[in-house]
C-alpha cells in the first residue's frame, strides 16, 4: 500500500497500510511514544483502501480490510480515516487474537493488581478508566483486557482512548492538549476524540498484573452496588469475550478461575464522580 506504519499496543504488533497519507500521519502522532519493535513480525494487518482507484481523490471513502473483514461494514469518509484505522485495529484483535482470553472490558491497575470493568457501549467503562488513569491508577486499556490462560494474569492493551461525546469535555479540561487527537465530529458513534494514555501507562504496558476486582458498570440511575455471584459473572464475561469459543478449554479454564478468585459487583452511578468514588470504595475493600 502507498502509506504504512507499525504500532505495538500491549502484546499486539499491528501493521497498518493505507491508500491515503492522512490516517497514517494521525496514527503516527497518537502512537509516537509507544515502544517500537521493528524486527517483530506483525500479529495483525489493517488495510484502509479506496473502493475504486479514483475514489482516492473523488469523494474519498475508506474501506476497512485486513486479516479479518466484516462483509457489510460501510465505508467511512476520509475525514474519519483515523476512526476507520481504530475500528480496523479493534476488529483484527477481536477476531484474530488467540494468545489470551480477550475481554471487551476496560482496566486500570495499582500496586500490581487490576480492576477490570466490563460493560456494553454506553456503560461508561471507557470514561471511568480514562478518568482513573488520570489519577492514581495505571490505565491498562479502555476497550480490551487480555487474560493469560496459563497464569490468569491480566495484560494491558492501552490503545489511544476513544473518548465519546460528553467524555470529551470531561477529559479535555484535565489533560495537556498535546495528548488529544483531532475531534472527529458526527461519526456513526457520535463525536470522538482520542486521548493518548499517560506516559506511565505506555511504559508499563508489557507488565502483567493480577486481577483483583471485577466490575460491571452501568451509567445512569442512583448509585448502587450489587454483589454478583460467580455464575452470573461467568455468563456475562463469556458474552463480553470475543474469542472465548475459539480458545476452547483454555478459555473455559481462564474464565472459571477468574470468576472464582476475583470478587465481582454490578455498579450503577449517576455521574463520573460517583462512579469513581464507588470504584475507589470497592477497591479499598478488595485490597484489604
Amino acid at each position: 500500500m502507498r502509506h504504512g506504519t507499525r504500532i505495538a499496543v500491549g502484546p499486539v504488533q499491528f501493521r497498518v497500510g493505507s491508500d491515503w497519507a492522512k490516517p497514517i500521519a494521525a496514527l503516527d502522532r497518537l502512537y509516537a511514544d509507544y515502544p517500537q519493535h521493528e524486527d517483530r513480525p506483525a500479529d495483525a494487518t489493517v488495510r484502509l483502501f479506496a473502493a475504486r482507484p479514483w475514489r482516492r481523490w473523488l469523494r474519498p471513502s475508506v474501506h476497512i480490510g485486513g486479516d479479518y473483514v466484516v462483509p457489510d461494514a460501510l465505508p467511512l469518509p476520509l475525514s474519519m480515516g483515523l476512526l476507520a484505522a481504530e475500528m480496523g485495529m479493534n476488529l483484527q484483535v477481536a477476531l484474530g487474537w488467540r494468545r489470551h482470553l480477550l475481554l471487551h472490558a476496560s482496566a486500570v491497575a495499582k500496586n500490581g493488581r487490576a480492576v477490570i470493568m466490563s460493560g456494553a457501549s454506553g456503560s461508561g467503562k471507557s470514561t471511568l478508566a480514562a478518568l482513573l488513569g488520570e489519577g492514581g491508577w495505571r490505565l491498562m486499556g479502555d476497550e480490551f483486557t487480555l487474560i493469560a490462560p496459563a497464569s490468569g494474569e491480566a495484560f494491558a492493551f492501552p490503545r489511544a482512548v476513544s473518548l465519546k461525546n460528553q467524555a470529551i469535555a470531561e477529559l479535555a479540561g484535565r489533560v495537556d492538549p498535546a495528548r488529544l487527537g483531532p475531534l472527529l465530529a458526527g461519526t456513526p458513534k457520535g463525536d470522538i476524540r482520542h486521548l493518548i494514555p499517560r506516559a506511565d501507562a505506555i511504559e508499563t504496558m508489557h507488565e502483567p498484573v493480577r486481577p483483583a476486582l471485577l466490575l460491571f458498570p452501568r451509567f445512569g440511575g442512583e448509585a448502587a452496588v450489587v454483589p454478583m455471584g460467580e455464575g452470573e459473572a461467568f455468563v456475562r464475561l463469556t458474552e463480553a469475550s470475543t474469542n472465548y469459543i475459539a480458545l476452547g478449554e483454555a478459555g473455559f479454564g481462564a474464565l472459571t478461575r477468574l470468576v472464582r478468585t476475583v470478587p465481582a459487583f454490578a455498579i450503577a452511578y449517576p455521574d463520573s464522580a460517583s462512579g469513581i468514588a464507588l470504584v475507589e470504595d470497592l477497591w479499598a475493600e478488595a485490597a484489604r
Binding site: 455471584g229 478449554e249 473455559f252 479454564g253 470468576v259
Partner: protein
C-alpha cells in the same frame, strides 16, 4: 411409560466446575460450554459408568439427598435425562 436407560459421558470428556448456584460444564468433544443448575450436576455425578434408568438414579439421589425416590422425583429425573441427552451430555444406552 418406558424408563429409558442412559449412559454417562466418559469421565475424561467433561470438565465440571461449580460456580456458586450455577455449574459450568465444558464438553471436550463438542468444545461447548453448558451452564446448568441443580439437580443436573447431582444427576451426572450419580450416574457412574454403567447405563442406568431414571428409577435407579432417583433411588441413588434419594439415598444421597433424603428425598422420596418414587413419583415426582423419578419423573423429574427422567425429564432431565432427556434434556441431558439433547445436550449430548448423556447418551441413550
Amino acid at each position: 411409560m418406558i424408563d429409558r436407560r442412559y449412559r454417562a459421558a466418559p469421565k475424561e470428556a467433561l470438565r465440571v466446575e461449580p460456580l456458586g448456584e450455577l455449574t459450568a460444564i465444558f464438553d471436550r468433544r463438542s468444545v461447548q460450554t453448558h451452564l446448568v443448575v441443580s439437580p443436573i450436576p447431582e444427576i451426572l455425578a450419580a450416574m457412574g459408568e454403567k447405563p442406568c434408568d431414571a428409577a435407579t438414579l432417583a433411588a441413588r439421589l434419594a439415598a444421597d439427598f433424603e428425598v422420596e425416590a418414587e413419583g415426582d422425583v423419578r419423573a423429574i429425573v427422567a425429564e432431565r435425562l432427556r434434556e441431558l441427552a439433547d445436550l449430548g451430555l448423556v447418551a441413550p444406552a
